[in-house]
């Protein structure tokens, strides 16, 4: 019997493996992902693409005669730099040029390999936004040279984000620590953690608008009993900002607390025991064990909290509809108001701005989380 060379082993092809019902793990994974990917594409990527496309078109439903012409970046120009620059705004040109120069420098750095590309991208976005914020912050001088209302909404959004995220961690972390302590009252703390989280935000807004009401509200009643004259919470810009942030912190620190509580419970008890044997104080244990081991949970809570903060709409809208004046008009509220004015093209451009902000923050956080890898 002649020895035949054995058939060179060939891996069965993709389709053959599928047909014979013997897919590799990777194939199986891919197949199982397809439905979810399709659904995601349909409900997420397609609408995002639609909004991007729409933002490049003129579309006002109360001016149907003008149709839906393609206008390129005109909306963005109006939003960021204005289309109708007057000579009064001449001196601001310098800031614009500086911003462009900064962005160009960053890109040059990226090209030369000094900076990593994603880093350059993030810093470009930050430079342009900060420059824009600076340029927009001249309400008295605004002619029609830029959309001052956009930059107002932008800074309101940033302010609410910074203040309410910091606030919800300041309140949420102690809540989580408290809920993690073995005690007869633990159930009470846990319920207190769950209730604000489970309440609809609009309801929270309406409720707190009542609490902060100047004449009939509980807050000023309590302050009055303590001999303090309460401010006009919702009728003045600055107190309104405080009131909104207090409300948002109340409503969202529970969420932060819950995520941190889950993180706390996964920390190995023996670490604390070892530290105690070594004579570490309570504070030292917190700094050296709890906080570092909590970092992944903090990151998760931070991302979700910041994203919802950037998209803040419900609480300020329910409290004052974005007022007094435009003191609480976040980007989310501005998008909604523009949509209701039927200017769908510009509303889409504003929504894209909101999207870019969220994206930039997420990328920044992700880089921070994976910094060690």
């Amino acid at each position: 019997m002649a020895l035949t060379t054995p058939h060179a082993y060939r891996r069965p092809g993709f389709w053959r493996r599928l047909r014979t019902g013997n897919p590799t793990e990777a194939q199986l994974g891919l197949i199982l992902l397809i439905p979810a990917a399709l659904v995601l594409a349909l409900v997420m990527f397609w609408p995002i693409a639609q909004v991007l496309w729409q933002s490049l078109h003129f579309e006002r439903l109360n001016v149907p005669a003008r149709g839906r012409p393609f206008i390129g970046f005109e909306h963005y120009q109006r939003m960021l730099w204005g289309s109708d620059m007057t000579w009064d705004a001449r001196h601001l040109l310098g800031w614009r040029l500086l911003a462009f120069a900064g962005a160009a420098g960053l890109w040059w750095g990226a090209a030369r390999g000094v900076l990593r590309r994603p880093t350059a991208l993030i810093w470009t976005v930050i430079v342009v936004l900060v420059a824009g914020l600076w340029m927009g912050y001249h309400p008295g001088e605004a002619g029609r040279w830029n959309d001052a209302r956009f930059w107002n909404a932008f800074s309101i959004t940033l302010l609410i984000t910074v203040a309410s995220v910091a606030g919800s961690f300041l309140v949420g972390l102690p809540l989580a620590l408290l809920a993690n302590v073995e005690s007869r009252w633990r159930w009470l703390v846990r319920i207190a953690l769950l209730i604000p989280w489970a309440m609809p935000r609009v309801l929270v807004g309406v409720m707190f608008a009542w609490l902060f009401n100047y004449t009939n509200g509980v807050v000023n009643d309590l302050l009055g009993r303590a001999g303090i004259a309460g401010p006009l919470w919702l009728s003045r810009a600055e107190p309104a900002m405080w009131a909104a942030n207090i409300t948002i912190v109340w409503a969202t620190s529970a969420f932060v607390g819950l995520i941190l509580l889950a993180g706390l419970q996964s920390i190995d008890e023996s670490l604390y025991e070892a530290a105690m044997v070594d004579g570490a104080s309570r504070l030292q244990r917190f700094w050296a064990i709890t906080l570092p081991l909590l970092r992944p949970s903090i990151a998760v809570a931070l991302i979700f909290r910041t994203l919802t903060a950037i998209q803040t709409f419900d609480i300020p809208y329910a409290m004052t509809q974005g007022g007094p004046g435009r003191a609480l008009e976040t980007l989310g509220i501005y998008v909604s108001n523009t949509t209701n004015s039927l200017n769908l093209g510009y509303a889409a451009a504003l929504a894209v701005a909101l999207f870019v902000m969220s994206l930039a923050i997420t990328v920044l956080y992700l880089r921070w989380i994976y910094a060690d890898d």
């Binding site: 100047y214 004449t215 004046g325 209701n340």
Partner: protein, 420 residues
Amino acid sequence: MRRTLALIAALALVASGLAQTPLKVFIGGQQRPDVIGPLLEQFNAENPDIVATFEVGGATSDVQQQYLNTVLTSRSGELDIFLIDVVRPAQYAASGWAEPLNHFFDSEAAMMAYLEDFLPGPIEANLVDGTLYALPAFTDAQFLYYRADLLEKYGFEPPTTWEELKSMALTIQQQEGDPNLQGFNYQGFQGEGTICTFLEVLWSAGGNWVDEDGNVTLVTPEAQRTMAWYEDTLASGITVPNIAEMSTDLSRQQFQAGNVVFMLNWGYAWAHFQGNSPQDTVVAGKVGVAPLPAFEGFDSATCIGGWQWAINPYSENKDAAWRLLEYLASPDSQRVLAVEASNIPARESLYTDPAVLTAAPHFGDFYDVIVNARSRPVTPFYNDVSEAIRYPMNAFFARQLSADEALQEMQRGVEEALDF
């Protein structure tokens, strides 16, 4: 046998489905579904070939409009008839969101004859360049509500000028000695009521937001006088300092709790004051209604309100929808709305109707105010114009803009909204 029966039943279902035209009506939660429901049931009984049902959504003009924005932007024919605010027909006409109604009449003359019985204000809003886009369901206006018991106690007649109002309010506040008693309450919040707050006083100073040639006229002596008056209400203490958060319904609740002497508000407040309200009332039988005051030598003026029935142009059953529309705008239906929902009739004849006057004797007092009510800006860009006026007004009440800054901001904003 059973199969035959099932088949017959199925056929009957199909046949009835074919024979009966379904109609869907959209109203807001504030428009008394409990009264509209029976009205539709009666229509269905009289018209066996149509089945009209209704859908309720939103409890404020803004929210109802947002829902309709979504439905109409997607060109959905899901709703056949909807109620729209009196400020909307011009925008609906421009967007093609309301079916023109002219072709349902035999002739132009027949249409004008049909419209004869309606009040002129709502018809003016619904006729855009000679095309009729909606029929009035009921009308409304802002009134001066006052505490009749307090005015009587101090021997005052309802004020006819703003100065009179101020001095009466101050006297009553001082004499009553109640620190919670507000002399004059109106709407200063970031919302639709605030544009009327501004326009009503502007009109009563002889001004308007626009002149005959269509130029925006908001930085004028009349407008400055308006702002000076509101400045005065705050400085003199007849108005609470938190007026920037005063919404329409918050005003109503404060008056109802007995904390207000004079208030500007819409017709709906009356029924609340008499006890038809989720909140307790301490002012039942103590409330009077009068036309708004004016400045010396000028006429009183008020904002027109109310709601209109329109047909969805994307509806597939427009002929049936028109029959329902005619029924809903008929004197009989408006009588039901007036008697059972205290909706102010849009038909002249109902102001002398015994059934209406028995159920709502105050409508007699309302009539003079209503026929003189004026329209807020009639424009397809109503949202932008409204925003351009109410934002500076609200910022003025919140002390973010001075009176002059607020007027300049209004002028700029309204010009930008109309400049296209």
